[in-house]
Subunit: 167 residues, 2 copies
């Protein structure tokens, strides 16, 4: 089904065949492994996991963010995040400051040590992304980001857009 149609306007829809879609799906699967491979190696050495990386990344992106905001970005339960945050705080990578306006809130910051790990992780991950971008070229990069953005759920796209504004 859905093989090589042509739309009402006459534009080629070859890229929407089930076969093309399946290629996109498998590309996404294999590429995500490459995407996480380098940070995973670094994290494993230090006894951390991907969850720690995600927390560190977004704390670095928005220093002083609250636990609740982080929860919403990461899309996990607060209990799950809390476990990760606790080890990062114990290990001195993250600092948690009680909110001045609202004392229920905890504002999160990377310490110097935390920033060092963040730099190590993001340098490795950027190197991989840079290689892929360079190899594929600027046109391809633009398409890459368009498709990814269209693949997000609405709330994720909201978070994504907000981060793009800040950065």
């Amino acid at each position: 089904m859905a093989e090589g149609q042509t739309g009402p306007g006459g534009e080629s829809l070859l890229f929407l065949t089930d076969d093309q879609l399946r290629k996109g799906i498998e590309a996404m699967f294999f590429a995500y492994r490459g995407f996480t491979a380098d940070p995973d190696r670094i994290l494993a050495e230090k006894g951390y996991g991907r969850a720690h990386h995600r927390a560190i990344h977004f704390i670095n992106r928005a220093p002083g963010t609250t636990v609740n905001n982080l929860l919403s970005i990461l899309g996990v339960t607060k209990q799950s995040l809390n476990r990760v945050l606790r080890t990062l705080i114990e290990d001195g990578l993250v600092e948690s400051r009680v909110g001045s306006r609202d004392k229920r809130e905890r504002h999160l910051y990377l310490t110097e040590t935390g920033e060092a790990l963040e730099a190590e992780l993001s340098t490795a991950q950027r190197a991989r992304m840079r290689g892929a971008f360079r190899q594929a070229g600027p046109e391809a990069v633009s398409g890459f980001r368009q498709v990814l953005e269209a693949m997000m759920d609405n709330d994720m796209r909201r978070h994504y857009a907000r981060l793009m504004d800040n950065g």
Copy 2:
């Protein structure tokens, strides 16, 4: 560092700034969540997880594949895969046939029930991919796949290429 250089040939390297790379990284993170969201919901209803989906997908792609081949594609340990395969076989979604040439090997096939679940999962996942492809357009899709392929590790790219040939 790496802000808006121009290469020796004069071509713009704006898309290789740390900022652009970071956007690519975050897009990849949020998009992968969308990518898995629909299958995850279906799987959760039936008491399966992503690991089962991956096994089902690649058995469907290459019926009769051996356990070892699947291990290499999925990049997990045999113990991990075995646990998943065992439940799929017990539940009658996958059939394991002893090899005729080499009786050590087990060749894996989806049963009718297995094919039904595969269809349900891949239909949902294709719908998401189709929406993203349609929204972004054929040029973007081409770029998307170029960047993803360039992001893979070599052995993943090998598996990917082999699957593309078959398909």
